[in-house]
Amino acid sequence: MISPVANFISRAVVQGIPLLCGSTGEIITEKSGNLNLGIPGIMYVGAVSGVAGAFFHEKLAAGPLNPFLAVVIPLVCSLLGSLAMSLIYAFLTVTLRANQNVTGLALTTFGIGLGNFYGGSLAILYGEGGALSLKATSDVFRTALPFAKNLGSVGLVLFSYGWLAYASIVIAVIATFVIKRTRIGLNLRAVGESPATADAAGINVTRYKYGATCIGGMIAGLGGLYFIMDYTSGIWSNGGFGDRGWLAIALVIFAIWNPDIGILGSILFGGLYIIDIFIPNLTRSQQELFKMLPYIVTVIVLIFTSIRRKRETMPPQALGLSYFREER
């Protein structure tokens, strides 16, 4: 017997994973002082690159797919796509010291365009009825643990997800550990708090900013990949990803720059995203009102933390600022 609560939680988790990837990636990026508003675009590109990889793999492979290749090819494609996007951002903001807000927004415009262009083109060229379906690859991504079905509610809540969901949570845990407990994390935080201090201490600020932006971008791109391969079962439709990228940025604030809090936050946000379906007797209009909740919750958290003003819950001090050593 599966309880409705378990059903709700499992759906919330599935909704939350793309947000978790996006926010983990953005947290890593922001810790280096880069406010990357291009994350929504990067997630689009992460998704479409994976789609392209899977598409050509499915095209070329006659017969059943090799599960290993079916995972690795889209994964590598997705990572490379996100990496390329992150490099544009890093090059413009770090090397050329461009305004981070404007660069980020331009990157999002570009990334969404790129995603829709390639996804849409593939769908027009090869899809059936205007939509592109990559069911075979998606099935590999969605393979859950075999015993999940036998464990009822527990199985559903804990073991029913595709591997990328677990990977995302592991990545968030590792990211927390690296940021808080390792030398790299210490250096990274120093770069985001005070790049001049980090520089004087012999830390290569440029390398850390590039590194954090690229790694963060690639993790965020995985969120896009998960969305396509797992959540939508391999069906690309233009604009389907919606505003999840911005919600991921909202989650960064909700998690006060802690990826581990982000794990719980993502499930909460995922839950808020779909709670309208689980409340009986809602009219269509009322359902639409419920979809406002995640944004309202974020606004409340934003207000609350800013009123409390605790030193440790503040954004990195140099967030949004370019660093130039010979400034005087």
């Binding site: 660069t103 365009g113 849409g120 290569n204 269509r284 309202i296 130039f324």
Partner: protein, 400 residues
């Protein structure tokens, strides 16, 4: 001194310009960046689609200015984008990163549509117009002042707050689309007052969009004068440059923040009015269609100067409309417009660096000695610059 020792000096060193670059040269660089971007865009379009680049550019031109109708459409589109760009500018000059124009315009759209739907047949036209103007402005103001209130009092991060407000407005539109749906069950509002045209902007001299354009032209002039010659504009500049200085001379910083954001919201509200009453005559979640975000970039590209903003918004509109034509002429996805816009923006954003900073190359003697060929000698930070030979940096990434 031997060459060997010299060589360990970094190849390129960067220093901030203490004396600004001559304006003519700076604009030359910007123009060069746009040309380079268009070339790269051509390379992109050709490699992806295999089309003849000249045909593609002809199509781009045709889409934007090919016929009188298209020209009017492009100008109309420019007017709306310009209006929103003008709206965000006072806030930006104050260093208030308002990226919530999308939501503020949407609020104006909602208010306008609400007037047209709810009281359209109850009021005489002049009164209705007045009510529409007032409510749309009010709606924009409310949407802008909420984040400003928290920023002014608790320094709440305005970038993120206004971002969230966008989606609250869009969701509100979704909700209203089901409330006011027409026909029933469609979840769309459809053209409002299709038969009676109540609440629609009138045509002037037979031109549908002329009123829109005149309104925006007036706002452009007003914002220009306001920022440059008014006491309020002066206060905005001071608060933006240094809040402490503003307090030191007794400016009420909170009041300036609230007032300026209210102004931003008001102009956004008017933009919403123009979109619904003057152009679309309907309301949907895509009424603003990302123009709120594009406007942020337009305002920044124009260096917050309303006069330059006319050109910046025209450039972006030209690309949008032209790329739409490319998409339909060659049956490719219309999202190509966003890609081309993105490429151009990257180049314009990137070229500012070469205007604001000076690259000091190592002594010519050693360059001639061929030491430049050894990449290990670059200082890491600067290696990227040395590699950026015009277009390469972005090209590779665009194609991946």
């Amino acid at each position: 001194m031997t060459e060997k020792k010299r060589s360990s000096e970094p190849l390129v060193r960067i220093s901030a310009r203490t004396v600004p670059m001559p304006a003519l040269k700076a604009w030359g660089i910007r123009l060069g960046a746009i040309v380079a971007a268009l070339l790269l865009a051509a390379v992109f379009v050709v490699t992806v689609t295999g089309l003849n680049p000249f045909e593609v550019y002809a199509s781009l031109w045709k889409g934007a200015f090919g016929s009188l109708t298209m020209f009017k459409r492009t100008v109309q589109n420019t007017a709306v984008l310009l209006c929103i760009s003008l709206a965000v500018t006072p806030a930006f000059k104050m260093r208030f990163w308002n990226i919530g124009a999308e939501g503020q315009v949407m609020a104006g759209c909602i208010a306008t549509a609400a007037c047209m739907i709810l009281v359209g047949d109850k009021l005489p036209t002049p009164l209705l117009m007045l009510v529409m103007v007032i409510t749309s402005i009010l709606a924009g103001v409310i949407w802008a002042v909420i984040p400003a209130f928290f920023k002014a009092n608790w320094n709440t991060n305005e970038t993120l707050f206004t971002l969230m407000m966008n989606y609250i407005a869009i969701q509100l539109t979704s909700y209203l689309s089901t409330v006011w749906e027409n026909p029933a069950g469609s979840a769309h509002i459809g053209v409002i007052n299709m038969k009676t045209k109540v609440g629609w902007f009138p045509s002037l001299f037979g031109e549908k969009y002329l009123l829109n354009i005149l309104i925006v032209a007036a706002i452009t002039a007003a914002v220009y004068v306001y920022l440059k010659y008014s006491k309020h504009g002066y206060e905005i500049s001071v608060v933006g440059e240094s809040e402490r200085t503003a307090k030191y001379v007794g400016m009420n910083v909170k009041k300036v923040i609230l007032r300026t954001m209210a102004l931003s919201g008001a102009i956004c509200g008017i933009a919403g009015l123009i979109i619904v009453a003057g152009t679309d005559h309907t309301l949907s979640t895509t009424s603003v269609g990302g123009k709120g975000f594009t406007a942020v970039m337009v305002s920044w590209l124009a260096k917050f100067n309303p006069a330059l903003m006319v050109f910046a918004s025209l450039l972006i509109s030209f690309l949008e409309k032209g790329a739409g034509q490319i998409a339909s002429d060659f049956r490719i996805d219309p999202a190509i417009a966003d890609i081309l816009t993105g490429i151009i923006l990257f180049f314009i954003i990137g070229c500012e660096f070469f205007i604001n900073y000076k690259l000091n190359f190592r002594h010519k003697a050693s360059v001639e000695a061929g030491i430049t060929a050894v990449p290990v000698l670059f200082e890491e930070e600067e290696a990227g610059i040395a590699e950026k030979s015009g277009t390469d940096g972005v090209k590779e990434e665009a194609e991946s």
